[in-house]
């Protein structure tokens, strides 16, 4: 069903689709799509999201005691949690994820996090991205090391990050690219004009420092433009424009991933989780952050369509927050947190992890949720089951990782 406008658009585009783009074999779409069939999306919440109010242990009497004003109410009450399993409840602002929970495509791993006890945002984020907690000398990020062990050839868009910066997690030997958030990432560039493009190509080709980064940008841009135009033709379903921010980016990302089979890894970082004061309960600051996050994840899952079955989405944050609320209706820096896993291959509808309760004797240093599951165990399980990494490959991505004996069976198969 193609209307006249779309037909014209397609005819106008055909020219650009067949232009050869140099040495890179990016145009050979399809050859490698089996290697990149299984996708991974990592969403990182920078600033230490309060996991105890994301998946709240309302069934533990200590919870309400530790959080008299910010604690979430029990299910069924005003502003109460959405019951998950009779003990844990989901923040009401995440109602958009409830269908995925019910379809068993969403799971949580509670009391997970880094074995390193730092309460510095910046060190903890660094460890979460390098995949080597406690070791600062690691140069590359674990997602980049993952790229180096995955089978198949790597095109410039095999791994993409949404946003103006290249995150630590994707830094390293394998090429990766970043796209501006929102529609700007798929807009025409000044370098698309042949004379200008060729002038800058000449200058950058011979630059020792910047040639490869420049070329990665050029190649990725062409690929993404192709994928996004393809979508405009196909998706007359377009849908209503989404609110700005993460839901919007998630919609774009879903389209790109659906249209460009070579995109295998995607990364998005979201800030604003450092709620030291007035974080609110069912409503308020944290709720206002969680709502678009939930909407964005639901949009991503939906927008991926059949690709969602081959996708795992992991949501993680550098550490959790104090079990006890502080003097200002907020929480300070803590330790254990909750990790979220969504996707077709998830044995969802369940909260996993070794949960020990919030009694005074259970808290880490008398204040925080202890870490009973190393974040690397979760990521390794995804890499092993979903991306089919061998033990040896796993050791390259997560060197020095202690072998986990815990039965973390949150993946099907």
């Amino acid at each position: 069903m193609m209307n006249r406008r779309n037909l014209l658009k397609m005819m106008a585009m055909t020219g650009s689709l067949v232009i050869p783009v140099g040495r890179q074999a990016w145009a050979a779409v399809g050859d490698d799509s089996t290697a990149t069939k299984r996708k991974l999306v990592v969403v990182m919440l920078r600033g230490a999201a309060d996991g105890l109010n994301v998946v709240a242990p309302y069934g533990d009497a200590n919870y309400a005691r530790l959080r008299p004003t910010i604690g979430l109410a029990r299910p069924g009450q005003d502003g109460g949690v959405l019951d998950l399993d009779g003990y844990f409840g989901l923040h009401p602002a995440l109602a958009s994820l409830q269908p995925l929970w019910e379809q068993k495509k969403l799971a949580f791993i509670h009391a997970s996090g880094s074995p390193d006890a730092t309460r510095s945002h910046f060190d903890a984020q660094d460890y979460l991205e390098s995949g080597t907690p406690g070791r600062k000398s690691t140069q590359d990020g674990w997602l980049n090391r993952l790229l180096t062990v995955l089978p198949g050839t790597t095109s410039p868009t095999r791994a993409i990050s949404v946003g103006p910066l290249m995150p630590r997690i994707l830094t390293g030997r394998a090429p990766a690219t970043n796209l501006a958030a929102g529609a700007a990432g798929t807009k025409e560039s000044i370098l698309d004009r042949p004379k200008i493009g060729s002038a800058f190509d000449q200058m950058y080709q011979s630059s020792d420092k910047f040639a490869s980064t420049y070329q990665e940008g050029r190649d990725a841009h062409k690929e993404v433009m192709t994928a996004s135009m393809k979508d405009e033709m196909r998706a007359a379903d377009g849908g209503a424009p989404l609110p700005n921010g993460f839901p919007n980016d998630a919609a774009h990302l879903a389209k790109l991933m659906r249209n460009d089979p070579k995109i295998q890894i995607a990364f998005v970082a979201l800030g604003g989780w450092d709620t030291h004061a007035y974080q609110g309960n069912g409503k308020g600051q944290l709720a206002n952050r969680l709502a678009p996050l939930g909407q964005g994840l639901a949009t991503l899952a939906q927008g991926l369509g059949p690709v969602f079955d081959d996708t795992i989405i992991v949501v993680m944050s550098e550490f959790g927050r104090t079990a006890r609320q502080n003097g200002n209706g907020g929480t300070d820096h803590g330790h254990g947190n909750v990790m979220w896993v969504l996707g077709g291959g998830v044995a969802g509808g369940k909260v996993y992890g070794d949960w020990q309760g919030l009694g005074d004797g259970q808290l880490h240093e008398g204040r925080d949720l202890p870490v009973t599951t190393d974040f690397r165990s979760v990521l390794a399980k995804v890499s092993e089951r979903h991306l089919r990494l061998s033990d040896q490959q796993l050791m390259q991505v997560f060197p020095e990782m202690p072998i986990s004996k815990a039965g973390l069976n949150f993946m099907l198969g």
Binding site: R173, F200, M203
Partner: protein, 512 residues
């Protein structure tokens, strides 16, 4: 992104070898280097001026900015920016007035709020950018950027939208080359920092707020009933000791207790411009054990003592020296240089000017391997392009726009660690394309830089007054050895109309 790692390793290996064997820098290269590092790059004629003056004299003059007169045009322009000449209390009053009215929902009130907040944002930005581009006290402007970033506050958080201008003017700018202890104290007591890192709310655990206060701003305060460790942690981790500076979680909590009562009253700030208040009622009077010191109850003196200890701590000396060396020399500064700067810091009681003097006269600073070794941050890139092109700029919006696109919005770093200044942080595929796009638009005269941002918002985006395209020959003369022979040859092989864009979008101009 393959490059950073390889390059970092390469740079470390090469310094010791090159520093001794490489040919000494030419006069032009030295002049360019100090203009690129002590400032935001050359304006037309600057390289010649610095050569005539002599490199050492130029450095010494930059270290004494009060000896360098400001051009009348700049002074005149700054004097016309209402907001930047108002007190913190006055700006906050305007801000709160429109916020309160707009909350009632009237469309006219919302429009008024947009205007008032827009004016505050725009004038703060204009003051900062006009100085960075046009002040001959370039090092002062570089240090304002450096220290603001070190003591970052985020303008997007509540009241800080109104307070950030005063923060920079009153708590940062006067101290950028002075005593670190003074700078530390000024930031600790400024309402922008007290608000941003929540210390204004932090109280002793048993504090009972007075019940009968109804004022909206104080309504928030009335909820303050216990400790908040946000500021205390970042004070040690980011502002002073550094994350590995040797403190524990207990030290964080104890320092937070020592700083209870360091606050401000929004109403008192609006009415009387009282920017800081020590509230003894909120202060935790108990004994504390902090960093090996036993602290008895001394009220505000406890916090002052903490700042004294932190300012002169060897970990702080090391942390600041590393940051300065990384900013001014290269991304992985040598431990020897950092050690030398640390010693100087401790020997001069934390005198920033003297530490910088040592740095600028160090062999590492002038080593040829370190020339051009820094990848410009988006801010440095934009300001240096504006300086080199000498485009008349009455409208800073296009510059603010490109800073947003490049991921470095002015006053927009959300987290207290501010922005990084390394190549690994800023070099990425999208960034290069966007920098080239900006360079091309600037060179073609397509940015509406010389149009007064007016009352007519619809026209603001249109390039109403056609600016002159830039002249590539003029740019190349201005930048001298910044643009290599190889790059010049490629530029010469391309059409005249593209050459200026190629200069400002060249790989050479990405670095300093």
């Amino acid at each position: 992104m393959k490059l950073p790692i390889r390059l970092a390793a390469f740079a470390i290996l090469s310094i010791s070898a090159w520093a001794t064997t490489a040919a000494p820098l030419s006069g032009d290269q030295q002049a360019l280097h100090v203009l690129d590092r002590l400032g935001y790059g050359p304006k037309p004629g600057d390289i010649e001026r610095v050569k005539q003056m002599g490199i050492d004299r130029y450095i010494d003059a930059q270290l004494e900015p009060e000896t360098i007169p400001l051009p009348a045009a700049l002074t005149q322009r700054l004097s016309m920016l209402e907001t930047s000449n108002e007190s913190a209390g006055e700006v906050l009053a305007e801000f709160l007035a429109v916020r309160k009215v707009a909350n009632d929902g009237d469309e006219a009130a919302k429009q008024k709020r947009r205007e008032v907040v827009g004016k505050i944002v725009e004038q703060n930005a204009e003051a900062r950018l006009a100085r960075a581009i046009d002040s001959p006290r370039q090092l002062e402007e570089v240090m304002v950027d450096f220290w603001f970033n070190h003591f970052n506050v985020f303008a997007g958080k509540g009241l800080d939208r109104a307070l950030v201008g005063s923060y920079e003017r009153d708590a940062i700018r006067p101290y950028v080359l002075g005593s670190f202890r003074d700078l530390l104290g000024a930031t600790a007591k400024h309402p922008a920092m007290l608000f941003y890192l929540d210390n204004w709310l932090s109280t002793s655990a048993d504090y009972q707020p007075p019940q009968l206060r109804r004022n909206a701003a104080q309504g928030q305060k009335a909820k303050a009933t216990g400790l908040n460790e946000n500021y205390a942690r970042e004070l040690m981790e980011l502002h002073t000791l550094g994350v590995d500076g040797g403190y524990s979680q207990k030290d964080v909590t104890e320092l937070a207790r020592m700083l209870t009562g360091w606050t401000f009253e929004p109403r008192d700030l609006v009415r009387n411009n009282h920017t800081f208040r020590f509230d003894a009622q909120r202060h935790d009077m108990g004994d504390k054990e902090w960093l090996g010191h036993h602290i008895g109850a001394q009220g505000q003196g406890e916090g002052e003592f903490a700042l004294d200890v932190l300012a002169m701590h060897p970990s702080t000396a090391h942390h600041l020296s590393y940051e300065l060396a990384q900013y001014f020399v290269q991304d992985n500064p040598s431990p020897e240089l950092v050690e030398r700067l640390s010693k100087r810091y401790l020997a001069t009681n934390g005198n920033i000017r003297e530490v910088l003097r040592t740095l600028f006269h160090s062999p590492e600073f002038m080593a040829s391997a370190n020339v051009g070794a820094k990848f410009k941050t988006p801010y440095q890139f934009v300001i240096s392009a504006a300086r080199a092109s000498q485009a008349p700029i009455t409208n800073v919006r296009p510059l603010l726009g490109v800073l947003n696109q490049l991921g470095m919005p002015l006053y927009g770093a959300q987290t207290p660690d501010g922005y990084k200044n390394t190549q690994a942080a800023w070099l990425n595929p999208d960034a290069l394309t966007r920098r080239i796009t900006f360079a091309t638009a600037l060179a073609a005269g397509r940015l509406p830089l010389n149009k007064m941002p007016g009352n007519d918002d619809k026209a603001a985006g249109a390039p109403a007054v056609a600016a002159q395209p830039l002249d590539a020959v003029m740019l190349l003369n201005t930048l001298g050895p910044a643009i290599s022979g190889k790059t010049r040859a490629t530029i010469d092989n391309n059409p005249q109309a593209l050459r200026a864009a190629m200069v400002l979008g060249s790989p050479d101009f990405m670095q300093r």
